[in-house]
């Protein structure tokens, strides 16, 4: 019976408190009650904390997208995290490309120029894949985890204390209102006492909240260090990848000699002889297109640094004087111009020069 009374009494008290707050809040909205304003400094701290939370969240989310652009993979990782299980180590895109290149090179023949180059490229892609994985892991550990801990830890605490502060303020203002309405001396004395109590609680809560909010400065300092770590991780990643690519280019540097070798092999084909003897007109056209795609001279390859040869796939009539008309199957020189639309290149045929659409071309050397 006593337990029952106790519970009912507490329930009634809580209901009363809740009702008081609701009434106060409503009257504030309707402009019928005064509202205690927080001091400017505290307001600044609150907005700063809110701002920090919002942007920390955006930066964190976008960094996750940057490190793992595939949304399906991100969802998968999220599910594994929630299930408290370790995500299986997945082969990433560069590693898979590397694997395909190595397998292709092996099948084409490691002794051939193309096969050999594919195997080397494949190995480098795999190393880039490993570096990519390390970047993701390091960035997640040094940058994303601290940001997430702030949002799920410190900021939650701040939000909780803010809510308490809001409740204390409503209690305080309700007490003020009640005091104003009091008529009898006895009631007035009771209201004044209640007001002092709520004022003390409010002041204490404001102080606590302010201390927590001032911790945002140290949060910024911490995030600054995490940002530096992220930069360092990215630096390491790009330095490694750059080194890998330099090594690869050195290995592939023997291309000219391979090229000459292939050129000899190509010239050995008895195409002219058999063409005149047995091949029909349609076959000549088909074979002709293949023959035309045979590699141009080595000197052309060496001479062209930014310019290159391109074969025209379809006829094209210039729409204006800035464009160059094209005939199917002809070979022209093309180069790109800074700031030009990415769908166009500059084409040259003898003295004639003009814009040409990329989709009409097949780049050669």
């Amino acid at each position: 019976m006593n337990i029952m009374d106790f519970n009912v009494k507490k329930l009634a008290a809580d209901a009363g408190t809740f009702l008081s707050r609701a009434v106060q809040f409503t009257e504030e909205k309707l402009g019928q009650a005064e509202k205690t304003e927080l001091d400017a400094h505290l307001e600044n701290l609150l907005s700063k904390a809110e701002c920090t939370k919002v942007w920390t969240e955006k930066i964190m989310k976008q960094t996750e997208v940057l490190l793992q652009p595939n949304p399906n993979a991100r969802i998968e990782e999220f599910v594994y995290e929630k299930l408290d299980r370790k995500a299986p180590s997945r082969i990433n895109n560069p590693e898979l490309l590397g694997q395909y290149m190595i397998d292709a090179g092996t099948e084409f023949g490691p002794g051939t120029a193309y096969g050999n180059a594919l195997i080397k490229c494949g190995e480098t892609q795999k190393r880039i894949g490993t570096a990519d994985r390390e970047l993701i892991q390091t960035s997640a550990l040094n940058f994303l985890t601290p940001l997430r801990n702030f949002i799920e830890g410190d900021y939650k605490t701040i939000a909780k204390e803010r809510k308490l502060l809001q409740n204390k303020r409503l209690d305080l203002d309700a007490a003020k209102t009640r005091l104003k309405k009091a008529k009898a001396a006895e009631t007035k004395s009771s209201s004044e006492q209640e007001l002092r109590i709520t004022q003390s609680e409010f002041d204490r809560q404001a102080e606590i909240t302010r201390l927590l909010l001032e911790g945002i400065s140290s949060t910024h300092a911490h995030h600054l260090r995490c940002l530096n770590d992220f930069v360092e991780a990215q630096m390491t990643y790009y330095a490694q990848c750059y080194q890998y690519m330099l090594d690869l280019q050195k290995q592939l540097g023997s291309f000219p000699s391979n090229y000459v070798s292939n050129n000899n092999q190509t010239s050995g084909t008895p195409v002219p002889y058999t063409l005149s003897n047995t091949i029909g007109p349609s076959a000549v056209a088909s074979t002709g297109s293949l023959v035309i795609t045979c590699p141009p001279n080595l000197s052309d390859l060496k001479d062209s640094s930014s310019t290159r040869k391109a074969r025209v796939l379809y006829d094209y009539d210039a729409a204006n004087s800035t464009e160059l008309s094209l005939l199917a199957d002809e070979v022209i020189t093309v180069f790109s111009v800074v700031g030009m639309d990415s769908d166009w290149l500059m084409g040259e045929r003898g003295n004639q020069k003009g814009k040409v659409p990329i989709t009409y071309l097949e780049l050669l050397n």
């Binding site: 990848c241 029909g280 293949l290």
Partner: protein, 404 residues
């Protein structure tokens, strides 16, 4: 009408003949002309080239654009023959967020300033990535795609024609064999007929005409066989020439591979340079930032404590430890940072929760303590090596908040 009907019937006949030949081959009732070994090698090589080119093409596309939704979108735009709108890369979007965050958090604060600088670098990285995607698509993916949709289709068509020619050839061979067998049989019958005295005149006439008929049939079959053989040989030659073109396709793809390597090298070189520039900028302002940050953090901490009234102090007792708990670790970390710069590879970490070591290779942890941690090559990525004084052991990463 007659012409169309005749042609239709002729085509149907040819188709039927090929189907019969193909079926008989499957049942082992007919001979099949085998292609020479060199030719078979060329075919296998062409198939191999086509398969791997396709795989490399697909995976490079995935590498350049890992988001499958974006790839589907680009595919649709391509089919609709419209220009794909220039999409902001992930790096550029991150840069934008960092720049806006810096503006709101205060561009003059240490964190804001660093965010601004990192934002600039990320934007450049994003632009470099876009350039890389564009160049790699143009110089590597497009030629591979052109090969698959152009040369390879031609080769496939000629191979199919070759298959048809071979079926025609083998059908003619089968027909010739049957005709010769029939002729031989007719000749034998002719020889035996004269034995019957009473019917000699009529049988002689019949056997003679039958023999002549089959003879004509054999001649016709032989003529058709020669025509089919010529057609087959010509088609084989055409196909062989196309297949040998695979070598030049390999040379072309090799050049494209070099282009891809070049564009990738350029991409990483640019990114590396951007990161070097960024580190220089951050390094130059690092000395200026740290003392300011340290002083700024320390200064506000002391006034509030001294200004607390006696009444509030008692009531605030339970919360003060929490508030105080926030500052000391940061302060300690900062002091340590200044007094003893962290050794390369090791760093400070704050323990978030208590942890009991499961075995002697692990280190027990207490919440809120500071330890030194570092990683070892080959170690499980969920663990680090932790040190507290002389004690050393494995610690779970999830229990730590890395500091310096």
């Amino acid at each position: 009408m007659d012409f169309n009907m005749k042609k239709l019937a002729s085509d149907a006949g040819i188709f039927f003949t090929r189907a019969v030949q193909f079926t008989e081959e499957k049942f082992g009732q007919a001979e099949k002309t085998e292609l020479d070994a060199h030719f078979e090698n060329l075919l296998a090589r062409a198939d191999s080239t086509k398969n791997w080119t396709e795989r490399i093409l697909r995976q490079t596309e995935v590498l350049l654009q890992p988001n499958p939704s974006a790839r589907v979108e680009e595919f649709l735009y391509e089919k609709l023959d419209r220009k794909v709108p220039s999409r902001v890369t992930n790096g550029e979007l991150l840069a934008q967020y960092m720049a806006e965050a810096a503006s709101e958090l205060g561009p003059n604060t240490p964190y804001g300033k660093t965010l601004m600088k990192v934002s600039e670098a990320e934007k450049r990285l994003g632009a470099a990535e876009r350039d890389f995607i564009h160049t790699a698509s143009l110089s590597f993916l497009t030629p591979l795609r052109n090969f698959l949709e152009g040369d390879w289709k031609t080769i496939s068509k000629e191979r199919r024609l070759l298959q048809n020619r071979r079926l025609d050839l083998d059908a003619c061979k089968a027909r010739l064999k049957k005709a010769k067998a029939a002729e031989a049989k007719a000749t034998c019958e002719g020889d035996t007929v004269p034995d019957f005295q009473e019917t000699r005149p009529r049988n002689y006439i019949l056997s003679a005409s039958a023999s002549a008929l089959w003879n004509d049939e054999v001649d016709k079959a032989e003529q058709e066989l020669r025509a089919a053989q010529t057609e087959f040989d010509r088609q084989a030659e055409v196909t062989r020439l196309l297949l040998e073109g695979i070598s030049s396709a390999h040379v072309n793809h090799l050049r494209c591979l070099h282009e891809f390597v070049k564009s990738q090298t350029t991409y990483y070189a640019q990114c590396y340079r951007h990161m070097l520039d960024l580190q220089k900028q951050l390094g130059s302002s690092q000395g200026a930032i740290f003392p300011g940050t340290f002083v700024g953090t320390t200064e506000p901490a002391s006034p509030p404590l001294s200004s607390t009234s006696p009444t509030t102090t008692a009531a605030t007792m339970p919360v003060v430890p929490t508030g105080a708990g926030l500052a000391p670790p940061e302060e300690a970390a900062l002091c340590l940072e200044e007094v003893a710069p962290p050794a390369s590879g090791t760093r400070k970490a704050r323990v978030l929760y208590d942890y009991e070591a499961a075995d002697s290779s692990e280190l027990a942890l207490l919440a809120d303590e500071l330890i030194t941690v570092y990683s070892l090559p080959g170690m499980d990525p969920d663990w680090l090596i932790g040190e507290r004084g002389n004690k050393k052991g494995k610690v779970p990463v999830t229990y730590l908040e890395l500091l310096s």
